[in-house]
Symmetry: C2
Subunit: 282 residues, 2 copies
């Protein structure tokens, strides 16, 4: 059994793990600190383990994930200033002396669902996460979509009915893009309460379903995915996925066949498993 | 030199051509009639030519372009009832006895630009046409994006400021999706005049640039293309491409690096050349 290491690098916590997949995964997690200190903890963890063939990093972003770029493996223009322009993949590679693969957290989670979860056997699908931010990772014709830089799917623009919803949106770049209207901080700012404290019959959830359905329509019209996996903290709300699917169907109005829209099959380990899948893919 | 045949099948006219590329292309065009009569004219044209190795069809849609589907090569749910559920590729293949490749008109035009035009050397790009409808064909990692069915990029939803623009949109399925707000028939319906009759200082063009920029933002956020080629009758309006680019830049507000947005390099022959490229690709 080939063993790989995975680093799920989030804005608030890191998960490091080793294994070949969900069956034998071992992992630890700790809070994100500055880049040197945090990478040192990752490196110490991997040095304590049996040697791995390579390490994958599933990183918060924006990042440079283009292997042909001079700054491949760097975190780029993040608001976390200590991490800006940090050679993340390079630091891990130098410390451990193994190949390091590097991609966005959503692309890695999509890979994990492809390898072990809800996207097995597909060639064109979309993984979406709705939490602190909104992001999407897409596989097209059996390969991850990177493009120039990487997609920023949460920043699509959607209709915003200001009579129904006067909240102006809180994306620092775009105001009322999808992320600015429908990520967890937008819900909290609009209603004055964290999403998990809002009861299931609160109008917040109908509005949330509306915005997510509009975002999904745009991704479906552009990518025509075979399936869409919807994960993240906000999507864990009971009934939301059903509400979103119903609204997508109404809004599409029979024009395109709709993909199945499903919950992730992997639990909170999708990130670190995705990083391991990334390392295995080379 | 390998020679192929191409059929550009449009809702109002057909173009048939033979050749290996732009250098030696010969073609004819005629109005679209019913499917049997129109295919008979295509077949007669090809029988008069030197034998070709295969034929590509760049078709209006919606179509079934999935080679694994039982109805591959069919026109599907088009409003042109005579063509609905017509085995287009099958009819041509039976009559000519050569392999027939089949894809959407926009995917074929994208292929032509990839092979001979403004997308040479790229691996992830988008071709958009703005005319009677709005459509997009994307290459991702060097292969055309098909997905489940095919994308319908013109049907993305965009913000619609009804105070600035009370026109409700004219998409029969979605009302004010992008196509319902910004394709040529929407411009004509909103202003009571065909787009080519509206002077360049008419407010129609600022509004058109706004909607197209919002659509482009959505495609850029989802696909992160290296370049976007903007063709079609509406885009031929002098100054519009510049206006669209400027507005995309403002709306993106520095969040993502923007792809170059350029005019097509091929002229009106892109469709039939795309059909030939499709045949050559197998």
């Amino acid at each position: 059994m080939r063993r790989f290491g995975g680093i799920e690098a989030g804005g608030s916590k890191f998960v490091c793990g080793v294994g070949s997949g969900p069956e034998d995964l071992e992992s630890i997690e700790f809070p994100t600190a500055g880049p040197e200190e945090t990478v040192a903890r990752c490196v110490a963890y991997f040095k304590d383990q049996e040697r791995v063939e390579g390490v994958g990093i599933a990183s918060f972003g924006p990042i440079d994930s283009d292997p042909l770029s001079a700054t491949f493996g760097y975190i780029t223009s993040t608001p976390k200033t200590a991490w800006r322009n940090f050679d993340f993949a390079g630091a891990v590679r130098k410390a451990l002396g193994v190949p390091v693969a590097f991609d966005t957290d959503v692309n890695a989670a999509a890979r994990a669902e492809f390898q072990w979860g809800a996207a097995q056997g597909l060639t064109t699908f979309l993984y979406v996460t709705v939490g602190t931010g909104i992001g999407g990772g897409a596989m097209v014709n059996g390969r991850m979509l990177h493009g120039r830089g990487h997609p920023e799917m949460g920043h699509v623009r959607v209709p915003h009915d200001r009579a129904r919803d006067p909240f102006p949106g809180n994306c620092p770049y775009h105001g009322d893009c999808l992320e600015g209207l429908a990520a967890a901080p937008a819900i909290a700012a609009r209603w004055g309460q964290a999403p998990h404290l809002l009861p299931s019959d609160h109008p917040a959830w109908g509005l949330e379903a509306e915005y997510l359905a509009l975002g999904l329509l745009n991704w479906i019209a552009t990518l025509a995915p075979e399936r869409i996996i919807l994960g993240g903290g906000v999507m864990a709300r009971k009934g939301l996925l059903t509400g979103v699917c119903g609204r997508v169907m109404e809004l599409m109005n029979g024009y395109m066949n709709l993909p199945a829209m499903v919950a992730p099959a992997l639990d909170a380990r999708a990130g670190v498993l995705g990083a391991i899948a990334l390392a295995a893919a080379g």
